[in-house]
């Protein structure tokens, strides 16, 4: 029964994908003069409306960077808030150009939905929240703990795997709703609250005594979140992917919103290639360093994104530092994290 259902679903989705992918997304966006970005209807730090009704957040800013790279203006983007259930169909049916809405990259989504993940902008994973008075500094010390989790999610399974692998005893207190889990934790019915780490940080904001709780550094599951595009449009896929890489490279090279104009005179060949600054080759010929051309974009593609939105680290700090989220796995590779961008050359 299940296989028949998935077959029907896959064929329906596949059909939609092939039909929608026939038009070039870049041309559509340019003709429209606006990027249409699928966003989260409300997730602390990743996509929420501010007091003036402007969307703010990590995922939202990534769309702005793509708009700046493609159209030269970070404001030329329309956000379409999508629920978890409608996000992929919205992309497949061509309602949106790119989906930047904390979506986890998994094999089945890659292989059966007719979608492509353009990178991992945020490495999330299941984490642990504990009261500081418990005196625990690492998840490895949680043997014998009572853990509050939400039922029906992968959270419970991950938990079982982790404690089994580390040969520790534990007890689960599970609830249907996230609010109930949180309440149980606050009432002290369990020692540990476990869910996605970014979610833990967001919940701590709502605690009256946030300093009495701490998020343990360990992540016990893989939740790679990133922007998604339709399969079959290689050019658009490259644009989204390389916008992300450009933001990462900019951080690595120390190019920020504030200094990107000065950096235009930099002698560092990597920066010259990032910002499309002409340079002299050793044999005296001129290299134009215009890597935007290969994407079908203007030479200012990376400059606009960095100037108007900021590099990866700036976007991260602006949106997630208020949640007190540490860079952790999202630090640059040279700082021990997983964020690594191929070179622009």
């Amino acid at each position: 029964m299940k296989s028949i259902k998935s077959l029907i679903l896959a064929s329906v989705f596949g059909l939609a994908a092939t039909v929608a992918a026939s038009a070039g997304t870049l041309d559509d966006v340019k003709a429209r003069g606006q990027l249409i970005c699928g966003s989260n209807p409300g997730l602390t730090g990743f996509g929420t409306p501010d007091d003036q009704g402007n969307w703010t957040g990590f995922d939202v800013d990534f769309c702005r960077a793509v708009a700046a790279a493609v159209l030269g203006d970070a404001k030329k983007v329309k956000f379409v808030p999508l629920s978890a259930k409608e996000r992929f169909t919205a992309l497949q049916s061509g309602t949106i150009d790119v989906l930047s809405r904390n979506s986890t990259w998994t094999m089945s989504r890659d292989s059966t939905l007719g979608l492509s993940f353009a990178g991992v902008t945020y490495y999330d994973g299941q984490g642990f929240l504990v009261p500081t008075k418990l005196g625990v500094k690492s998840a490895k010390e949680l043997g014998g703990a009572t853990v509050c989790v939400q039922t029906g999610t992968t959270t419970e399974l991950n938990l079982a795997d982790y404690f089994k692998a580390n040969k520790m005893e534990y007890k689960v207190v599970a609830f249907e709703k996230n609010e109930e889990v949180l309440k149980a934790y606050q009432e002290g019915r369990c020692d540990v609250y476990s869910t996605d780490q970014s979610g833990l940080y967001a919940e701590v904001l709502k605690f009256t005594t946030p300093t009495d709780h701490m998020v343990l550094p360990e992540i016990i599951s893989k939740e790679p979140l990133g922007p998604v595009v339709r399969q079959g449009d290689a050019q658009w896929f490259n644009i989204v992917k390389w916008t992300y890489y450009a933001l990462l490279n900019a951080e690595e090279l120390g190019v920020t919103t504030a200094n990107v104009d000065e950096m235009k005179t930099s002698a560092n060949p990597e920066i010259q290639r990032l910002l499309s600054i002409k340079s002299k080759n050793e044999d005296g010929t001129e290299a134009d360093n215009d890597f935007g051309k290969g994407l079908g974009l203007g030479p200012d593609w990376a400059y606009n994104a960095i100037k108007q939105v900021g590099n990866y680290g700036e976007i991260f700090d602006r949106n997630l530092s208020q949640l007190k989220i540490a860079r952790g796995k999202n630090a640059l590779w040279r700082d021990g994290g997983l964020q690594y961008a191929p070179p622009i050359r």
Partner: protein, 373 residues
């Protein structure tokens, strides 16, 4: 003849027993006729007082009245977080409607309010013209005013509409559209023509058999997949149609209840005087049937008004969704933000539903249906 045991004059009047007259006795009769009920009264009164005090303490006494961000609201023992409401209130009314264009939404509110008042208050004349304006001109006017793109107005797509504006649009569309469709469906279901009857019955039973959430999901998620690329009807429009058809099915059953309450003699008498089917319905049957089911109709309206919050599931930013999305704003996320938001939300929904309920009671009294119990 006088009998020794018969009195010749009235007995002197004595005051009524203190225990059965006067305010005190009446109070005692109502609240504590027996010691056990007296105890119950005390317990219930104490509970009520405690609840009232808790709410007042939370909403007024320990509430935070002004603060730039979440810090003050997150303090230990802080009550309602009113600065959050203040910061977001306009957003709750207009959604993402551009700030400089909000006068258009205000104009829509104003015109609708005046016209509705004219319709609802019996003393105001020109009912016919007013109804013409409200049911035919006003919806078109609302659409062009809010969406713009004509007459020099900037285009504001429906995905930027939100908050109370969208809640009222969905509710009013549902209420106004469900009435005529529902009446036609109810007549169709009682029709003697087999095709009309079975189609009406099938529609009513199918739509009533699925939850509104399913209807909305089908409209927003599945529908685009069956359409050629690029053809994607507006999300709000899809929701409006879904809500209207859904409430029409319920309305049809309410109206059918009214039709069944009308004695057969009324039908036969109308036919005997030579009225056609439509004239019989319009002049004789419907006026009586609808009067009987006013409570049922208003019940449908009220539940429809609250059901509008379900459109938030398909990502439409109605009042409910708009309030909720504010909870996740890192600037305001605190222990009391959610409570305050839901409190205000509840008050707003309650105010609208209570007003509808009171108005229906007023209309019932005025029409004096004779079926009142």
């Amino acid at each position: 003849m006088t009998l020794a045991y018969v009195r010749t004059e009235d007995a002197p009047k004595r005051p009524p027993p203190a225990t059965t007259a006067g305010t005190w006795a009446r109070l005692r009769d109502q609240f504590a006729p027996t010691p056990l009920s007296g105890l119950a009264t005390i317990v219930i009164a104490a509970l009520l007082a405690w609840t009232a005090w808790t709410i007042i303490h939370w909403a007024l006494i320990s509430a935070v009245w002004s603060a730039p961000d979440r810090e003050a609201c997150n303090a230990v023992g802080a009550g309602a977080c009113w600065p959050f409401v203040k910061a977001k209130a306009l957003q709750w009314v207009y959604g993402f409607y551009p700030i400089e264009e909000r006068w258009r939404a205000n104009l829509v509110f104003l015109l609708g309010g005046i016209s509705l008042l004219g319709l609802l208050v019996p003393q105001i004349p020109l009912k016919g013209l007013n109804a013409l304006f409200f049911f035919l001109i006003y919806p078109v006017l609302t659409f062009y005013l809010l969406r713009g793109d004509h007459f020099g107005l900037v285009r504001v797509d429906t995905d930027q509409w939100g908050g109370l504006l969208v809640t009222l649009i969905v509710a009013l569309t549902g209420i106004v559209a469900s009435m005529p469709i529902g009446i036609l469906l109810a007549l169709g279901r009682r029709s003697k023509m087999p095709v009309v009857r079975s189609l009406s019955t099938a529609f009513i039973e199918i739509v009533r058999g699925v939850p509104l959430v399913t209807v909305l999901f089908m409209a927003s998620v599945m529908f685009p997949l069956f359409m050629p690329p690029g053809v994607n009807p507006d999300k709000l429009l899809k929701a409006l149609i879904g809500v209207a058809l859904f409430s029409a099915a319920y309305m049809a059953e309410t109206v059918r209840g009214g039709l069944q309450a009308i004695p057969k003699g009324q039908y036969e008498a109308s036919m005997a005087v030579g009225l056609s089917y439509w004239r019989m319905m319009l002049l004789i049957i419907m006026p009586q049937a609808l009067k009987v089911v006013i409570p049922g109709i208003v019940n449908s309206f009220i539940s429809l008004f609250k059901d509008t919050s379900l459109v938030s599931i398909i990502g439409i930013f109605d009042l409910f969704n708009m309030v909720q999305s504010g909870f996740n704003d890192a600037k305001w996320a605190s222990a009391q933000t959610g409570n305050t938001g839901y409190f205000v939300l509840g008050l707003v929904y309650w105010a609208f539903c209570f007003a509808m309920s009171r108005y229906s009671q007023f209309i019932e009294r005025r029409l004096n249906t004779g079926h009142k119990r």
